[in-house]
Subunit: 551 residues, 2 copies
Amino acid sequence: MTTNPSPQIWLYDTTLRDGTQCEGLSVSIEDKLRIAKRLDQLGIPFIEGGWPGANPKDVQFFWQLQEDPLKQAEIVAFCSTRRPNTVAASEPMLQAILTAGSHWVTIFGKSWDLHVTEGLKTTLEENLAMIRDTIEYFRSHGRRVIYDAEHWFDGYKHNRDYALQTLEAAIASGAEWLVLCDTNGGTLPHEVSESVTTVKGHLSFVLCQKSMTNDPGQRTIPQIGIHTHNDCDLAVANALAAVMAGATMVQGTINGYGERCGNANLCSLIPNLQLKMGYSCITEHQLTQLTEASRFVSEVVNLAPDEHAPFVGRSAFAHKGGVHVSAVQRNPLTYEHIQPETVGNRRRIVISEQAGLSNVLAKARTFGIELDKQTPEAKQILQRLKQLESQGYQFEAAEASFALLMYEALGARQEFFEVKGFQVHCDLVEGKETSSALATVKVAVNGQNILEAAEGNGPVAALDTALRKALVNFYPQLASFELTDYKVRILDGHAGTAAKTRALVESGNGHQRWTTIGVSANILAASYQAVVEGLEYGLLLHSQAEAAVKA
Amino acid sequence: MTTNPSPQIWLYDTTLRDGTQCEGLSVSIEDKLRIAKRLDQLGIPFIEGGWPGANPKDVQFFWQLQEDPLKQAEIVAFCSTRRPNTVAASEPMLQAILTAGSHWVTIFGKSWDLHVTEGLKTTLEENLAMIRDTIEYFRSHGRRVIYDAEHWFDGYKHNRDYALQTLEAAIASGAEWLVLCDTNGGTLPHEVSESVTTVKGHLSFVLCQKSMTNDPGQRTIPQIGIHTHNDCDLAVANALAAVMAGATMVQGTINGYGERCGNANLCSLIPNLQLKMGYSCITEHQLTQLTEASRFVSEVVNLAPDEHAPFVGRSAFAHKGGVHVSAVQRNPLTYEHIQPETVGNRRRIVISEQAGLSNVLAKARTFGIELDKQTPEAKQILQRLKQLESQGYQFEAAEASFALLMYEALGARQEFFEVKGFQVHCDLVEGKETSSALATVKVAVNGQNILEAAEGNGPVAALDTALRKALVNFYPQLASFELTDYKVRILDGHAGTAAKTRALVESGNGHQRWTTIGVSANILAASYQAVVEGLEYGLLLHSQAEAAVKA
């Protein structure tokens, strides 16, 4: 269905406008500026910055960009058509857009007759005038205009003739792009395809007529864009269907952020268009920055990244099954639909219950340990792994604990300290806001027993502090370690408070981060185990680094 | 493209097999049984239970289902073809499948020549024999067979003739379904469409030839199924494209759980097929259970539900305040692509104080409390709610705690007991498998102070026991209460062990279940608070029931 072998698709990012409608997402002006710069680096040609005038944040955002403009991208201001029965030139809302100073303006207008008569409570003719006047107003001030046909696909279904008239009004007044919007997200790919094809055909016919009558109303040859939402889990498919039917602009957001179920995800669209369908969007080098850009944006908006996101997710190229893993290593292309590096992601071998020996060997290799499949050590590691996993351990996320397990099986686990036991005492008096916890630990280092106690606002914090106090004189490097994340999961909730608990602790030393695990019916014992292994692994990393320097 | 106005699409759920390949997801046998029962209620006709023999958990799961079978659904065992150069009858792997006792067996085999020669290291002819022998073996033991053509779309691209031969082998040996699998998830909808159309055409041709020659090899007329993965963000679109090209079985998982980027999400596929495309999958009533089923499965596998999930997500029908909201309320169909109730979801009005208040009133009504919008109590409840939610409380899942909060605001919270404080002492000696915890609680009932202590294998169990011991003489009904579920979530993991903890406790009295919440930087204080409110709410229910009997 593609008519051109490798045409350009123009990307239009609306993370900073439609994306911020996402429930749970909020951004400062500073955040918006950081994201805009990153999108510019990524090679997105159109970046919709917001609706200046609708809120003060967006006004300031555009002003700041006037001071410090983007390198390549066009920043676009977004705005509706003028209100019914007004004059464009005297609408403060439209003047605020001029003040924002962008070359490009996106005007959205109504395509669906019902929204005109019931929503705007005006006539169908007045809506056409609103579209024309608003676009002409911006054109007369030298702005270039993208026209967003809101609720396009619903309007097209209910009153096709009128919907097409709204597009004609936008062309006649000088819009350079007509963007068909599936605002409610309810359209299916074959419907998108049919509608885009019809629009293309209709516009060719209209343009042909105009050129024959030499109508001065026609100023530019508009192209088609597509704006989709994910309410049917089809936002990406719908955008691709539109492109195959002739659309040349694709609107979307980073990570698919957006109202309700989100917008079309640019992190999926770009690789599909470029790697699978042969379109040109951004450079190959920019494409290798995609995974990082996705994570950067999720960091800035402070939403946890989707680990299972296509192309850019942490699990997107993770391999779990046993037989499977050895095959992947022989010939990755038979098990991966693209090379992870092309989008800046990487292959990961996951350790789990379903692991075979080859997973274990592959994982060992990432820790610099070469194991032979035939050795008793390799088999012993696998057996121990399965035994621990049946008890509720899960090493997928706790790679440091897995490394310690491997060193132990190889007889190479260095003993930095030995834990003899711990006690925790917790005291809560009703009515007092804070509760205190007191922890006592007993550890042995080089045959010397150390007893140490500490307080904390929770029992695990107290345990952690006591342990560090006991060890820091022997291992001063502990001072630079910190506990960066702590997660608890109840494994069999149905056993009530007697259920087994799994604790995951992430630690860091300023350069590296590692995760350890503990499992016990006692929530404190599970947490303590993970904390202890976190310190041990940190000491191991330090001693490996020292050995490397000496060597 | 649909040839039939409202044909049946057969749903095939693989949450319990392919879904468990999802990184971060692990389930016990008990979890699998609960999910299977729920899928059965939802009306899924085929439920793939696992690969009995590949791990002991799946063997036990099938055995338990023999004791206590599903009501409607067919449970399906999954397994590969026999290994190269063996005899099916002497393969222990295949015998384990027979022992599992399911009527239906899904056999997966290689479609891609490269996987045969490089992966299996055997000949293309031997692979065809493996498919034939394995299916014939199960057919001769009275099993019905679904054939999963692994890596179908890649195989089809690389060596179409051979790929088609593998399907012919499966048909000739008696498979009733041929399922085309996009195992690597790299295929686009138009490619799926083209391939399914070709397969349909080819099979018609082959079947026509066989019937003319009266070949006994052909036993059944196979139908086409589709199995897709979400690596291109197109799993749902690909499955729909296959259905439009003639596939009649759709494989997927609840919430799209699965390896890497997941499988096709049944929670999106079912409403698309049924509400948008006019196919028949489950009953209308079952469809209204979809949202609940989605959340149930996410609870059981203990993964946070995706709030933005199409159809079933909490944000899927969320509307922001303002003009939009009043328009939605006037004519919802112009702003929502389906009625949320058809899939058991609901419209949500976000943010506005007014909307918050009406939510509170609606919620109060579910507890039989009629509140007036204008009263200071209603406003006070809303204010308290917002304050607590900013501290990390979340009452959506803890309705019993919310009810107590309402009674308190109304001055109607009955005081059954007063907690004066608690102490916990925990002692772990390294090398001893069990750790013990000792809890002491001080409560006042009718002005009388009671001090009680108890031991447990964890601190929360000890606290729970001590509290019951202290109260049971005053409230003998406590003897019938039990703690049925306990969950802990760390709210701000990045604060390390000092992070706030949210504990949810589910309690029951044999007839009813209720959930309470606690939040604190101290994991024990949060848990204790939820346990205390759980007992209090149980006593409240008991006293309400007694009052009702007397009245």
